[in-house]
């Protein structure tokens, strides 16, 4: 498995293309870049402004993938529930006529509530970051799968397009059919791990694109 991480010193010097320039690059220039992925985008063809470590000079990102946004629903609902919970407790508690066995000073309650909300914020933020950096990239040379399983565990795998021997996708269940997302599996030659893009939008389109790129790479 190739190492994809390089320090800032060894990062490939990617020359800016006129089509990727935006106001951020040169405040005096008119913004011409219109194809940057949105912060919440999970399927973006030929994105501009997406680069990865060890990217070759002639390598172009053809498809940028994340899990479908609907997969974030569970932690978003949990965040809302956890956010409302203390407010409900404060609203209901005076009517219950229950006294605590120990007398907690108000300053302690303040710190406890602030700490609670910090934990809720942390949970939400980490869940979002895990989704944000859990990406799949298909370039004109290879397929890259970056899996972030929690905040201190990441798994980066890449394979050349010609090394892929079998591509398949799976869509099951009402939710996946309704929102058109599913899992794409790629089998590679022996000794190399198999690749999977889980819960990505338009799996049929992705499988089709990889099949075409794979055939093209084999012809070269």
């Amino acid at each position: 498995m190739p190492t994809l991480y390089t320090s800032d010193e060894t990062k490939p010097d990617i020359k800016p293309d006129i089509t990727t320039l935006s106001i951020e690059d040169d405040p005096g220039q008119i913004k011409v870049n219109k194809n940057e992925p949105h912060i919440l985008s999970s399927f973006h063809e030929k994105p501009e402004g997406v680069q990865f470590a060890n990217q070759d000079d002639d390598e172009v990102v053809l498809l940028f993938l994340r899990r479908h946004y609907i997969t974030n629903l569970s932690w978003q609902i949990a965040t809302i529930i956890f956010g409302i919970l203390p407010l409900l407790a404060f609203a209901i508690f005076p009517y219950l006529n229950v006294s605590l066995p120990i007398d907690i000073p108000p300053s302690y309650i303040l710190v406890l509530v602030l700490f609670y909300y910090l934990i809720v914020f942390g949970y939400t933020f980490i869940s979002f970051v895990v989704w944000f950096y859990n990406v799949g990239i298909i370039s004109n040379h290879r397929v890259i799968d970056i899996d972030v399983n929690g905040i201190n565990s990441k798994d980066v795998a890449a394979t050349q397009l010609e090394d892929i021997i079998d591509i398949s996708y799976k869509q099951s269940g009402l939710k996946q059919s309704l929102f058109d997302y599913g899992d794409v599996y790629m089998e590679t030659q022996a000794e190399k791990p198999n690749f999977e893009f889980l819960s990505v939008p338009h799996p049929a389109k992705i499988a089709d694109l990889i099949t075409k790129l794979n055939a093209e790479a084999r012809r070269r």
């Binding site: 940057e36 933020f125 905040i151």
Partner: protein
Amino acid sequence: MILPNFTFDITLITKLFFLILIGFYTIFVIIVFTNIRSLTKLILIKRSSGSKLITNLTLAYLILTIFLFILAVVIL
């Protein structure tokens, strides 16, 4: 039979418990901060596509946690 009168300061125990809890959480947030920084180096997404927001939010998260720890030390 006279039982010995054990008195323990519940306020002190609660205070220590909170401080240790928030202290450990601060260490966790520092680990999160360093890990997110390494992720931003692995894949470079244009500033306007959210990476700048995430960098700022990570820093804000760290600052808020340290602030809460200091607040807990002062208030409790």
